[in-house]
């Protein structure tokens, strides 16, 4: 976001470093732990997860096309368009995967030290986990409590270290949202146990 960018490369701010050996360009000189998988095949190739997702989605579509109950539709029936998409997805995933295999991708790291993983999985865990808990508990605990929970866990994921204060701010925010959207605008938000039952 804040990395200075050079004028000549509009779409290239995340451009790959020049293809080289498997090891990262300057990661070795930075203080901090060795990146996971450094020196192995997987270093710089975690991007393979995306082709895997694309292949999975394409196969889901292609299996759906094959097992679809169409009756007697005329030629370009409901399978026509998704069928093309599924095949296209497989081809693209292949091209992208081949690209990653040929030139591993190393994301830009401006923090001045190295990390085991480029992404902060603790922070991601708090954010994603908080949202999952919010989604699952919402019908039981109600909007205000789960909203406060979500707010707190995301704030914690982002590095806030004042749990009590965060929870109070979160409960305040979710209560304001409840009053504004449920009471004033009439949107349907569950009151949960605070509403006196299920």
């Amino acid at each position: 976001m804040s990395t200075p960018m050079t004028p000549s490369s509009p779409a290239q701010d995340d451009a790959l470093p020049p293809a080289g050996s498997g090891a990262g360009p300057d990661q070795g000189d930075l203080p901090g732990p060795t990146p996971a998988g450094a020196g192995t095949f997987w270093h710089g190739r975690s991007g393979l997860i995306m082709p895997v997702v694309i292949v999975g989605f394409s196969l889901y579509i292609l299996i759906g096309v094959a097992t679809m109950d169409v009756g007697d539709a005329d030629f370009p029936g409901p399978q026509f368009f998704p069928g093309i998409l599924g095949v296209l997805g497989l081809v693209l995933a292949g091209i992208i995967a081949a690209g990653i295999l040929r030139r591993p991708e190393h994301p830009e790291n401006s923090s001045g030290r190295s990390w085991r993983f480029h992404s902060d999985f603790t922070a991601l865990g708090w954010t994603v986990g908080g949202f999952l808990a919010f989604a699952v508990l919402l019908p039981w605990l109600g909007w205000i409590l789960t909203g406060g929970l979500l707010f707190w866990s995301v704030a914690r994921g982002f590095g806030s270290r004042r749990p009590l204060f965060d929870i109070l701010v979160g409960l305040f925010m979710s209560s304001v949202a409840y009053l504004g959207f449920s009471v004033a605008l009439g949107l349907n938000l569950p009151s949960g146990i605070l509403g006196g039952g299920f």
Binding site: P10, A11, A123, A135, L138, L150, F151, G157
Partner: protein
């Protein structure tokens, strides 16, 4: 020339106290979100989408327009002061604009940007007023084959021009198109890819996908680096943002050139205003090299004026293309198209016939929004920068809460929240590994149109593929696409050969 009386009626409709209120609220909200580092107008529109269903359509779209334009103004404020563009379209403004700010000329830079955005937006809106009805008239000649050509144009151009990797752009497009096919097929009533789950019969909601990709995915992505990259955010300088007459004269031609460069890109779907802003910047830089005292690199006022004007003139024209053709050229426009659909409105010629009140009030509100934005941005830009005092954890926690609120309020189902989480994770992966997001959004929105029109065209020609390319309009569209692609390839080749030197 019968647009004028209609526009006057539109002004009458837009000048009601409530609609005026929504313009102002939209402009304030849009500027506020645009000012936040890293947040752009597309996220603001995505978060607002579920909220607006409590409003009547006219008020909702007036609000959207305010947010959209406000986001552009706010983006450039931050691009200049902090070097943190919220959207790709503000990147070109950072080069000379931020340098001006470092030079102690931040107020002048903000004024240049605000006036440039105002000029670009006003000129584009004026052209849209006279041009959109004609464009809508033209689109009456569009049959399934022509609409399919238009959709293919939008697909290919957005996924290849802006992204630095064409396969990644196309993969993003394929995901969007694939998601749009889930649900009961509109033509035959066949269930597709639902696994028998009744929650999927009506397809995956566009709101869920929009909020997941543009908002929740961004929250995850920022979370994954928040404690590691610490941007140095300091507000610099103060003072009254007035331009001296000499500065005004210096910037004026650049505003004009930027506007002209931006206009055509409102109708050519190449992924929004990123391309025209860079083109405008580049043109000014080339012109500058021929002057006796080159200014670029030292905070050239023209290097900021041109991209600002280009960005807003593209956005203004894009609204015209959206209203007249139903063609979204950027992710934000795609969300607005989705909003029209939610209200049961189909942009295009019929919209001008059936809902003239809405269309003209919306067009009139563009002008009002421009004036409001100039007023709230020109003297108060430094005040907006105070929004940076909100701590990052609370900002993003609030956004996550808002994501959940919006999706649950419109669907009322935990299922959609889980879907939101899942697609949000895909959005995170796409950001992490450099996949562009706009193709997914445009694929999701235009997918159904592309599919039904290609099937209609093939059904009525008994499966003869030549029917897709047998009218002059389709030749024109495919010809233009070939031209755009040729330019892209040329630019890519030149970039590569320059790297080798």
């Amino acid at each position: 020339m019968d647009s004028l009386p209609l526009l006057m009626e539109g002004f009458a409709g837009a000048f009601t106290p409530t609609n005026l209120l929504w313009v102002v609220v939209g402009c304030l909200l849009g500027t506020a979100v645009g000012v936040m580092p890293g947040l752009g107008s597309s996220m603001a529109v995505a978060l607002l989408l579920p909220m607006t269903f409590a409003l009547d359509p006219t008020a909702a779209f007036i609000l959207f327009a305010g947010v959209y334009f406000g986001g552009l103004f706010g983006d450039s404020t931050m691009a200049i002061l902090m070097n943190t563009p919220g959207q790709a379209s503000a990147i070109a403004s950072t080069f000379e604009g931020h340098r001006m700010a470092l030079d102690g000329r931040a107020p002048q830079a903000l004024a240049t940007a605000a006036i440039g955005a105002f000029i670009g937006g006003i000129i584009a809106s004026t052209i849209v007023v006279f041009f959109a009805p004609t464009l809508a008239e033209l689109s009456r000649y569009f049959g399934p084959a022509e609409y399919f050509a238009l959709a293919v144009f939008a697909f290919i151009a957005t996924s290849s021009v802006v992204s630095d990797s064409v396969p990644k752009g196309l993969a993003s497009l394929m995901l969007g198109l694939g998601i749009s096919t889930v649900g009961i097929d509109a033509v035959t009533g066949t269930q597709r890819f639902t696994m028998g789950a009744p929650q999927l019969f009506e397809g995956v909601s566009l709101i869920t996908v929009t909020v997941a990709i543009l908002a929740l995915g961004e929250v995850f992505h920022v979370a994954s680096r928040a404690r590691r990259d610490n941007p140095d955010l300091k507000t610099r300088s103060a003072g009254r943002p007035w331009l001296k007459w000499a500065e005004f004269k210096e910037a004026a031609p650049a505003w004009g050139r930027g506007t002209v460069i931006g206009l055509p890109f409102g109708v050519i779907p190449v992924g929004g205003s990123e391309v025209p802003t860079f083109m405008a910047y580049d043109v000014e830089r080339r012109l500058d090299r021929r002057r006796r005292l080159p200014q670029f690199g030292k905070g050239a006022i023209r290097g900021l004026a041109a991209p600002e004007a280009a960005g807003n003139s593209t956005t203004g024209m894009a609204m015209g293309a959206l209203l007249a053709l139903g063609l979204p050229v950027s992710a934000t426009a795609a969300i607005m198209l989705a909003a029209f659909r939610q209200y049961g409105l189909q942009p295009g010629p019929l919209l001008f016939d059936r809902n003239p009140d809405l269309v003209w009030a919306l067009l009139a509100s563009f002008f009002i929004a421009m004036v409001v934005l100039l007023i709230i941005n020109l003297p108060f830009a430094q005040l907006w920068a105070k929004l940076l005092l909100i701590p990052q954890p609370y900002l993003y926690a609030g956004i996550a809460l808002f994501c959940g609120l919006g999706v649950f309020a419109t669907s009322g189902r935990v299922f959609d929240l889980l879907l939101l989480l899942g697609i949000g994770l895909v959005g995170f992966g796409m950001r992490r590994y450099g996949y562009p997001l706009a193709p997914l959004m445009i694929g999701m929105v235009l997918g159904p149109l592309a599919e039904t029109s290609v099937r209609d065209a093939l059904l009525s020609s008994d499966g003869d593929y030549a029917a897709l390319i047998d009218s002059p309009i389709t030749w024109f569209i495919y010809g233009l696409l070939a031209l755009v692609l040729a330019f892209t390839v040329r630019a890519a080749v030149r970039r590569k050969s320059r790297q080798d030197i």
